[in-house]
Symmetry: C2
Subunit: 206 residues, 2 copies
Amino acid sequence: MSDTAKPIKSAKPRSRSSIGAVRSPQSTEAILDAATAILSEKGYKAFTMDALVERAGSSKPTIYRWWRSKGALLRDVYERAAVTFVTSPDTGDLEQDLIDHLRSLWVWWRSSSAGETLRSVFIEIQLDIEAIEEFRTAFLPRRERTLRKIFARAVSRGEIIDGPAIDAAVTMLTGTSWLHLVTANLDNLEDIDRSVALVVRGLRVG
Amino acid sequence: MSDTAKPIKSAKPRSRSSIGAVRSPQSTEAILDAATAILSEKGYKAFTMDALVERAGSSKPTIYRWWRSKGALLRDVYERAAVTFVTSPDTGDLEQDLIDHLRSLWVWWRSSSAGETLRSVFIEIQLDIEAIEEFRTAFLPRRERTLRKIFARAVSRGEIIDGPAIDAAVTMLTGTSWLHLVTANLDNLEDIDRSVALVVRGLRVG
């Protein structure tokens, strides 16, 4: 939650030069920085367009030209942050790799503004059916990429057999993680171990 | 969010007879009926307190005296509807029972206003940490009761062994179902079969 995030010094208002039809990288970064700072310091409730405009020294027309909705902007905030979150556990054991990755993910969510940002994405996309489609068909697969890599390595080692059960495993581990996120239950890291153990047992037999 | 909701004509002030500290069952039902109708006809975006007051012929003070938030009210709307949704599959086979129950649940969500209502509960509780706590510690266990009964019967038949893996199974099937709900993906009923098959295989080995 936001109240556990470290405060970040408020950005000074910036003057902006006029922009063309193409996104200015500087302005884009300034807007994403401002959004991150608001989510980090005050959480989703304080994340209004007015607050964002003020913090970023931007304007609503500019923001809405670059992002079709608050949800789209928040998604970019999350994905920019996710670039800094890289785990590639490769212990040679599927169960241990999954546990390592998911524990790191949960800790990252709750120790940075990333968890609050992803929660905010969930809320915002619920208001826009197009955003839900985009979320399911593009954002979700990108978010599941590390899990899929871990399973693929287990397949190539001969630890498990490839097949649709792996899709089910990815969806269940993702669904469980997100359920813990939206119910403010990320402290129960041992839930990861139990879920992973069950899934891996099922895959080894299957 | 509310600022994207369609404008709704302001409610005419109505005179109300004085009420006591105890909820009037008639008024409670009228408010829940009105909430159900709004969600069913127009969805969460149109579900504003003004719309509810007008539809129910009630007042904001009354509503807020009985429910501490929109989230709490929506939770009651969902749970009242859930009384009419009862499945008790008992085929003698854990996998089939789980599939039957979850398929019925998904179909109920998408064919009634129940899915929209639960989606709305998710959104609203995210704005209120107390509501999240209540959701996790009370609402969620109530929602998982049917799944737990199905697993308990399998334990008593000797099909699986009791233990913490069952908790993991319940959480994963719930998390997966809710992920499908919030990503508008309830048509893919075969995802249920794959998830259930994997979980049951894991439990039978464990």
